[in-house]
Symmetry: C2
Subunit: 119 residues, 2 copies
Amino acid sequence: MDQDRETGTELKPRYDAAGLVTAVVTDNASGEVLMLAHMNEEALAKTIETGIAHFWSRSRGKLWMKGETSGNVLNVVEMRVDCDQDAIWLRAEPVGPACHTGERSCFYRRVVDGRLERD
Amino acid sequence: MDQDRETGTELKPRYDAAGLVTAVVTDNASGEVLMLAHMNEEALAKTIETGIAHFWSRSRGKLWMKGETSGNVLNVVEMRVDCDQDAIWLRAEPVGPACHTGERSCFYRRVVDGRLERD
């Protein structure tokens, strides 16, 4: 157990073997979970610096400002870190749909009796 | 792109190389993000079957019912899955503090000017 990481005031992200932490984004107004993604050190630094959510795209292997092509950026209202500092929570104001499918949230389906239902 | 995974009604989790999906848990009442954890196929099945959140503990290498020792279980109100089915969102009613530190949420610190502040 890394006590300092849990109780301290220093941001010391615990990156995994691929150099990433998990980031969850919620809509600051509704509380809805919009998306999950990953951040490397650069993405985290850019997010802090600009106030706009940046991630590391694992599929494309590059830094990615969410909304860089669609315009649907996520303006960060608050950033939080979890106990062992391997996860980041962003409360954000989304400019448009957060999901590449055009849905407001990536979590547009409920699991009901083992099947998926749209809202 | 796996269109079927994105638009279909079948729960087809996209497990990573370690056989895991990421799970985010929010408090159904407050909307607060309580914790992030991981699920393998068994943890997901147990969660669906029992209505109580189960995860795969990566550090201990075993199935883990959250609260099995502390009693602070998470009763699942709703389960959702994201577009590419590699993440699960649980809306839950926590019986007690969700964090092993005794905090209500694992995200008990804000990142402010690159430093951490408790609420």
